[in-house]
Amino acid sequence: MAVAKTWVFAEIIDGKPVPAVLELLTKARSLGGTVEAVAFSPQAEAAATTLGEFGATTLHAGTDAAYGELVLGGPAADALATLAGEHKPDLILIASTYLGRDVAGRLAARLDVPVIANGLDVSGDGEVSVGSSIFGATQNVTTAFEGGKPAIALIRPKSFVAESGGGGAATVSPVAATIDDKHRGARLIEHRTEESSGPKLEEATVVISGGRGLGDPKNFEVLEQLATLIGGAVGASRAVVDAGWVPYSMQVGQTGKTVKPEVYIAVGISGAMQHTVGMKGAKTIVAINRDADAPIFKLADLGVVGDALKILPQVIEQIKARKG
């Protein structure tokens, strides 16, 4: 049995859907029913072409300028709840980004339906069910929705590979919902982007991540050097993000980014399960750690027991020498 109507919540940044939205649309197409997108952004309509190409036939678009000036999760969830009441989707897929989580929780409360979080897969055979993994991705669980529609699933980015469906632009259907005054009390005053040079963490073919074992924030410069040399991106464990060594945008793991590079190099990272869920999908893993018992070695294709601060500069020298 297919899912008759699947909605994908389309988060829009700078007039473009974020990559995870295209991944969800790709998956939604395979569920067999109608696929539609819902977006709340003054620039939502600009996304109709891309959303259509990846599978949405209709784009329900809320384009009130206020969506760009408020904490978006609240008004978006309330409008989505009203809209879902009218159009009765069977399943709403939401990427577990910051905004996605804000929307999903409030939406579930408004509609009085459950939400399944941390999803990695979704299936529409019989009851809609969501696959996820627990305990540091050592066990896979399948959770089925039982009654209560729509089913709401929060899916981690990078769970599916986005593929164009070759469709034309989605038909834009304007959303009329008004924004309640209580939401106007929470305003977005400023957005400071944390810029980084080089490839994006989520897109890089090599990711070099540092942890507390680097000992000092200054030592991240060595990772930066290596990254520049081989065209990689630098990531980090939460321990060093919380300590303020590097910005949050570099965090890999359960509460950070999910990366799936060709090679992931973990330097001075113990391999706590909350870290490994964000990098376990890498093709190959290299780990450098002083402690032979560090759990990260269980995942490593190549593990080196030793002092990262000694080894990394040698690695850099040798690569330079090879490059000539």
């Binding site: 904490v71 999760g73 910051y98 989580r101 804000d102 999903a104 929780g105 409030r106 579930a108 409360a109 339906v113 459950p114 939400v115 979080a117 993994s133 627990i134 050592t138 066990q139 896979n140 399948t142 959770t143 089925a144 929705f145 039982e146 209580k182 939401h183 009390g185 929470a186 305003r187 977005l188 005053i189 957005h191 982007t193 090599v206 081989i230 939460r238 300590a243 303020g244 945008s249 509460t255 980014k257 060709e262 090679v263 893993i285 290299v286 450098i288 070695f297 995942l299 490593a300 294709d301 190549l302 080196v304 027991v305 000694k310 080894i311 040698q314 690695v315 040798q318 690569i319 490059k323």
Partner: protein, 256 residues
């Protein structure tokens, strides 16, 4: 400013979790501790109340055994606690949890409700927004810094791409990240005093909530299986050759 902080009792985060093979519920028979993430919430609440006048109430839903975990928040300085324990609440999903907490919060006077961004054992990360939806107030999530001036709460929040600066009128639900502050250690005096502080123990019926708990959960785990393990790799001791091995490896993967 009166603050309600939601705190969860969780199994010791340093031990690996286990599912009960028959019920598929998380085994929680070991010792329960105050979720380390919630210590940041308690600290944030205390700082707001100390600076702007008012009191902190901590609210937790969880088993009796977790009483000491909740008392830790009182030892840190919260004025009173509310612990909702009931057998029927076992196996609650996030929405059930939020309904119970929201009902308990509704009985308090509050300007701000604080949670952590996600619990250490459940990590659905949706309870804060559900609370905001049920209380019908805005949620500001992933706060990295919080201050209050005039009648405006100023919050810097994390996003994937950087920091958003938010200004909000009260009341709001606020979820705080680890790193928002440096949680204080309970003092000896605080620990002694915590036992004397009021601890309410309402039942779900006292709070007027129905249709919550495991029996009315509308999601069930239908399968659990071991994830495929990665094939074992090569682990070597650095004897001066390790750097070369790494470079060879990178070059065999064609990244250099």
């Amino acid at each position: 400013m009166n603050v309600v902080v939601c705190v969860k009792q969780v199994p010791d985060p340093n031990s690996t979790g286990q599912l009960d093979p028959s019920s598929h519920l998380l085994k929680r028979d070991g010792e329960l501790v105050l979720d380390p993430g919630d210590e940041f919430g308690v600290e944030a609440g205390l700082q707001l109340a100390e600076k702007h006048g008012g009191e902190v109430t901590v609210i937790s839903m969880g088993p009796e055994r977790g009483l000491d975990a909740v008392r830790k928040a009182l030892a840190m300085g919260a004025a009173r606690g509310v612990l909702i324990s009931d057998d029927s609440l076992r196996g609650s999903d996030a929405l059930s949890t939020a309904k119970v907490l929201a009902a308990a919060i509704g009985k308090q006077e509050f300007d701000v409700v604080i949670t952590a961004t996600e619990s250490t054992d459940g990590y659905t990360g949706v309870v804060p927004q559900m609370l905001a939806g049920l209380l019908d107030i805005p949620a500001i999530t992933f706060a990295k810094s919080v201050s209050y001036e005039g009648d405006t709460l100023k919050v810097e929040r994390q996003t994937e791409t950087g920091i958003e600066v938010i200004e909000a009128k009260l009341p709001v639900v606020l979820s705080v990240t680890a790193g928002v502050n440096e949680p204080r250690y309970p003092s000896l005096k605080g620990i002694m005093g915590a036992k004397q502080k009021p601890m309410e123990r309402p039942t779900p019926a006292d709070l007027g909530v129905e249709g919550v708990g495991g029996a009315s959960a509308r999601q069930t785990i239908t399968a659990v299986e071991a994830a495929p393990e990665r094939a074992a790799g090569e682990i070597l001791q650095d004897d001066g050759e390790a750097a070369k091995r790494i470079v060879d490896f990178l070059s065999s993967k064609k990244v250099i």
